[in-house]
Symmetry: C2
Subunit: 190 residues, 2 copies
DNA sequence: GCACATACCTAAACCTATTAGGCTAGTGCG
DNA sequence: CGCACTAGCCTAATAGGTTTAGGTATGTGC
C-alpha cells in the first residue's frame, strides 16, 4: 500500500479518456476515476478543478489527437483523395474512440476553444478546399458544409441510425464523399 | 395548500420539455421538476418510471412535434422548395426549443425508436426526394445525407461554431440548401 | 356515509460533487 | 544525518440527485 499513487492531471485525463471509450463519455465521473486509481475521490481535486474541468481536458486531448491524425492523413494528398482522407479520420476516430469523439463535441468557452486544436481542424479543412476552385465566401461555406456532413453523419451512425437498414452504412459514406466532391466542383452560385 | 397537485405523466413531460428549453436538457432532473410543481421528489415516481423514462418521453414528444411541423410545412411543396422547408423546420425548432431538440437526439432503444415519430421523419424525407429522380439505393443514400447535413449543421450552429466569423450563418445555410439541391440533381454514380 | 383506490408524503439508502482541514512521506538544506 | 517543509493523499462533512418502501389522507363511487 504505497501512500502515493502517483496521480497527475495528465494521467487522470488519459485514464478518463479511456474510461469514456469504455463506458461512454456521460458516465465519466470523478468518482469512477478515483475508483480506477484506488484512491479517495477528494484526492483528485488537487489535480482537477472540477468534474467539468476533467471533461474539458478530455475534450481538448481528443481534439489534439484528431488534429494529429488529420495532419498525418492529409500529408501528400489533394483533391478528392484528401477529402476522403479527412472524413475517414473522423469516422475512424469515432469508431475507435467513441467516448473521446463525444467529448470532442463539448461546447468550450471561447478562450478555451481558441487555444484548443479546434482551429487546426478548420485550417486543415481549408487546406483541402484549396484544391477546389473556391473563392470567398464559398470557401467558408464549404468548410462549414464539411463539418456539418461529416459530424452529422458520424453522430447519426454512432447513434445506430443506419444499422438496421440496407444499403450498408459504408456504401452511403462513399456515396456522400463522392457527391460532396462533385458538389465542390460545381460552379459558384450565380 | 391543496394536497393534490394534479400531476400526470403528460403534464410532467410537458413541464420537463419547457424546463429543457429554459435550462438545457442536461439539467432536466426529476428533482427540478418536483420543485416546479411544489411537490416532493418521490411523488413523481408514480407517474414516471425513472429519470431516464422522463428524458425518453421528452424526446418522444419532441420528435412528434417536429414531425407535425414537418408535415404542415411540406404540404403543397415539392423540389427545392420542399427541401428548404424541410431543413427550415429543424433549424427553427432547434432555435425555438433547444432543449427539446437536444432531447430528440437521444439514442432510443430499437423498439421505442420504431414506435416513435422517427420513422415519420424519414418518410417525409423520402417524400421530398421523390421529387428528384433518384432510384434505389441512391434515394436511401440521399435520406441519410439530408439527416447528416441538417442535423450536423444545426448542432454545430447551436454549439456556437459559426457565430464569431463571417459570413453569417444564415448565408451558409442558404448556400448549403442550394448546393444540396444541385447535388441531388446530378446524375447517379456511374 | 363508508370503502377503496389514488395521489402525495416521510424515511432511508445510495450515488456524485465539492470543500476544509489533517497526516505523512519524500525533498532539500544545514 | 536530521530537520522543516511541501506535496500528495486521507477523513469528514455538506449538498444534491435517484430510487424504493411503506404510510396517510383525499376524493370517488357504491
Amino acid at each position: 500500500m504505497s501512500p502515493r499513487a502517483g496521480l497527475t492531471t495528465e494521467r487522470l485525463v488519459r485514464a478518463g479518456a479511456e474510461l469514456a471509450d469504455e463506458v461512454g463519455f456521460e458516465q465519466v465521473t470523478v468518482s469512477a476515476l478515483a475508483r480506477q486509481f484506488d484512491v479517495k475521490v477528494a484526492s483528485l481535486y488537487s489535480h482537477l478543478k472540477s468534474s467539468q474541468d476533467l471533461k474539458t481536458r478530455i475534450a481538448l486531448l481528443s481534439l489534439e489527437e484528431m488534429a494529429d491524425r488529420l495532419s498525418t492523413a492529409l500529408a501528400g494528398r489533394a483533391g478528392k483523395d484528401a477529402l476522403a482522407a479527412y472524413g475517414h479520420v473522423y469516422r475512424d476516430y469515432a469508431r475507435e474512440h467513441p467516448g473521446r469523439y463525444t467529448a470532442a463535441r463539448l461546447t468550450l468557452d471561447p478562450e478555451t476553444a481558441a487555444a484548443s486544436a479546434g482551429p487546426r481542424h478548420s485550417q486543415m479543412a481549408r487546406a483541402i478546399l484549396r484544391g477546389y476552385d473556391l473563392t470567398e465566401p464559398d470557401e467558408t461555406h464549404a468548410v462549414r458544409l464539411l463539418g456539418s456532413v461529416f459530424h452529422g453523419y458520424i453522430s447519426l451512425e454512432t447513434a445506430g441510425g443506419f444499422s438496421h437498414s440496407s444499403p450498408a452504412s459504408d456504401e452511403t459514406w462513399v456515396w456522400i464523399v463522392d457527391h460532396v466532391d462533385a458538389l465542390l466542383r460545381t460552379p459558384p452560385t450565380p
